[in-house]
Subunit: 276 residues, 2 copies
């Protein structure tokens, strides 16, 4: 079995930065999962005593709350600060950007459309910055019944596919006087996606490693699957079914932006050990 990593994969700038921040703040807790990878979160707890709290109201004055990479809603950040919790912001700067755009465009009178997953923490945070509200959509048909102003601003979840973003832009532009399209899909995501596409085209089997709740990993898997129908999304080596590799010769590997190198290595070691 030939095993080959995509040319670009795994940790992005924002995740590396967040983990460094967490490691530098021992004895603290993150508000929400720091990144969407439970294995790495367990390592931070074990090695650095960085806990995880899912209710921002449980932080007490003087305690340190690390804001997760995906950001948090504006009012929750404000409440943490008002109760004198020490806030350490590990929000990825590429997520801070759409938050700022939402606030600025909303205050300038644009209707805001966010392309992304309404239930995802990043989007809950980004949306909260739109002073006069925002609509979250994933496909153009969700725009059909909306009554929007002449001026619309469009932002995207950082981890989405640009082709799908363009479908939303293509629906809006002919129907409005001005559509201000902000390309907030991050480059790291884009590079991992392009590399996954490239290797999936030539692989017999594709393994995409990352949290099952990781948006960018799901996108990588979707791209891999579009180009190699024997594609599998796993969280770690325990999810592997070695039957998948029967009669396969070339295994491509990609990993989400929140997947640590040590976890990727474990997967490679396991395949090498168990597959001829």
């Amino acid at each position: 079995m030939k095993i080959q990593l995509a040319e670009s994969y795994g940790f992005c700038f924002g995740v590396k930065r967040a983990i460094k921040i967490a490691e530098e703040n021992k004895e603290s807790a993150t508000y929400g999962a720091l990144i969407h990878n439970s294995k790495e979160i367990a390592r931070l707890e074990k090695d650095f005593n960085v806990g995880l709290t899912n209710d921002h109201k449980s932080f007490k004055a003087g305690e340190t709350a690390i804001v997760r990479t995906h950001g948090i809603p504006k009012n929750e950040l404000q409440e943490l600060k008002e109760t004198n919790v020490e806030v350490v912001d590990a929000t990825c700067p590429y997520v801070t950007k759409p938050q700022q755009i939402c606030q600025e465009m909303s205050e300038k009178g644009y209707d805001i459309i966010i392309f992304g997953d309404e239930a995802h923490p990043e989007i809950k945070g980004v949306k909260s910055y739109a002073t006069y509200g925002a609509r979250v959509v994933t496909i153009p048909s969700e725009l059909e019944d909306l009554k929007l102003k002449d001026k619309v601003a469009l932002v995207a979840q950082t981890t989405r596919r640009v082709e799908e973003y363009m479908e939303i832009a293509n629906y809006l532009i002919p129907r409005h006087k001005e559509v201000r399209v902000f390309n907030t899909i991050c480059n790291a995501t884009f590079e991992n996606q392009e590399a996954a596409r490239k290797i999936a085209k030539i692989a017999d089997i594709m393994i995409v490693i990352g949290g099952k709740n990781s948006s960018n990993t799901k996108q990588l898997f979707s791209i891999a699957h579009d180009n190699c129908n024997k594609s599998y999304h796993i969280e770690d080596e325990n999810d592997i079914d070695y039957f998948w590799f029967k009669d396969k010769e070339f295994c491509g590997i990609s990993a989400g932006a929140s997947t640590p190198d040590w976890l990727i290595q474990n997967v490679i070691d396991a395949i090498e050990k168990n597959v001829n």
Copy 2:
């Protein structure tokens, strides 16, 4: 022969307005062809003594210069005013809009891309308002070698096809942090285009009437031809070859935004007279 007009055709708001302005300013001259229809211009000269001058420097103080519907470059307007020529502005408000957008966006630091025909008077005028310059393109490949800023503003010639405009937008958006897309294609153009498409799909032969130098008529002809391969662009009834109608039963008719009703009627009368 069944002859049917498209549901929307001919004179748009801006052309009607310009002709009214010309008729109200007898003994004047337009700077540049008021509209792209030589027959209507001849009528204005004959009935209202409205002349046509192609050099703005030939106007003398106290004379009246009517600015054509397509607008004129900013510096020429300024020179006319400075030499105390009385300027009557018949620029279509839908053309004034992209002029203003170019100026505002250029001064706000955006790189300006204009989708349109560099040689067309409208675009010469619109481009002149971009304080720090603008690039004019018709197809995405013309953007390939341009080094543009992160922030790009996109405007369109009022008479272009929206599908082709979207190709330019689709090239720019994934490559820039912000693309501000102004939909400056005018509704009248759009309505005439949609109506031409609809009737061309069911017609055996399509006659599109308008000046050979009229951008919007050329677009209408292109749409008609895409949907009915027996489509013909004529300026008036003298351009008709009645052989075109052999074995045809249903003739659809469309006309550009600068084509007067009397000219359309002449064409219909001629077909009715000469074709069974």
